[in-house]
Amino acid sequence: MALSIGQLLQKKSKTVLESWINIQLQDDGLKEELLSNQEIRKQSEEFLHSVISILKKEDSQNTESPEFEKAAEILTEISTSRAMQGYTPRETGVFVFGLKEAFLSVLEKEFKDSLVPYADSQKINKLIDALAILTFETFISSREEVILRQTSEISEISTPVIRVWDGILALPIIGTLDSARTQVVMENLLMKIVETESTIAILDISGVPAVDSLVAQHLIKTVSATRLMGAECIISGIRPEIAQTIVHLGIDLANINTKASLAHALRSAFMMLKLEVRKTVEKPKF
């Protein structure tokens, strides 16, 4: 009796593994410095066995069988770790698609003159394709996770509140002010006002790329909240082109103390606190 495809491949699993690893190593994109030969061998061997055990079953297309889940688990792990290490999707793709090539080339030798039965090659094709789709899904979702983590990290580090003088706080805003960001900025600022008993806060918007009506609205809200706390708010860093744009947009910032630069804002803050900065004159020595 002829062996089923699963049994046949099980018998030839050594040959398949060798040819599969060769295919992986031959690909130009492989980063040898990131993944050693042994590691590839280990990952490949583990995955190969789980795939063959799927093929041995009658319902190899069933994606809910325990065998398939086992293979999916191994693949997810490999794909995630590769995404984290900065592999390109191509390199991860070669890993899965190389197996198809290895299977088919082994089968071709096995069947010698006659062609590989269509049903069998179709079976392998379908299975590997299903696994490949899974690989990309996990690959991309783990990349997105990295991006999300970075986004939250950036928004956390980019809203510092600096105490520049007794009673004067400065808050440089860099990047776009969206609702979530405004919330963080406002919270930090109000907390710091209480903490340091400051009476003047300078909001520097030189690092904000575009001031549209939403950003302006957020600024106005922050200023009103600061005033409710009994502190005065100065907005600095209004560039000429932004000033023109605000006027054309029709935003009314007349009630808000605005200055062109942080230095100007600081000077006016000193004036409000009746402080003076003077150059000391050295007395001539006789």
Binding site: T176, D178, S213, L214, Q217, E241, Q244, H248
Partner: protein, 137 residues
């Protein structure tokens, strides 16, 4: 008007706004638009793309570099969404009118910031807004 360069950008999340604005910035730099005009265009674009996200949840923007003569080039942005549409366009174009919680300056403000402003809206079907800003003027 001749179109020289065309690109479609999908807007689905708030993060897409930053990407979109950077693309428009690149286009403006490519045709050497001045700083003030560039800022005006970017601000108008920012207003409209925010409106799109708030009221229609998602949409797309077509960015084009257009020219009418050898001397005058500009950027045309077409904002297309399948949202609820604008119920009363005349009211929406007045300063301070809003159905949401904003300042109500987005649409009239954007109109003042650009050279050509064109709205087509069908209630329940969606809105298409096209703005053009010339390099000079």
């Amino acid at each position: 008007m001749i179109t020289l360069n065309k690109e479609t950008i999908a807007i689905k999340r708030e993060q897409d706004v930053v990407f979109f604005r950077n693309r428009v910035n690149e286009y403006a730099e490519k045709i050497k638009m001045g700083l003030v005009n560039k800022t005006k265009l970017l601000t108008a674009a920012s207003e409209l793309v925010r409106n799109m996200l708030i009221y229609a949840k998602e949409g797309k923007v077509i960015c084009e570099i257009v020219t009418i003569s050898a001397l005058q080039t500009g950027i045309r942005l077409t904002f297309i969404d399948n949202g609820p549409g604008i119920a009363d366009i005349d009211k929406a174009m007045t300063d301070g009118y809003t159905t949401g919680k904003s300042l109500g300056l987005g649409l009239p403000g954007a109109k003042r910031l650009v050279n050509i402003f064109d709205v087509k809206t069908v209630k329940g079907k969606g809105t298409t807004i096209s703005i053009t800003k010339w390099k000079n003027g």
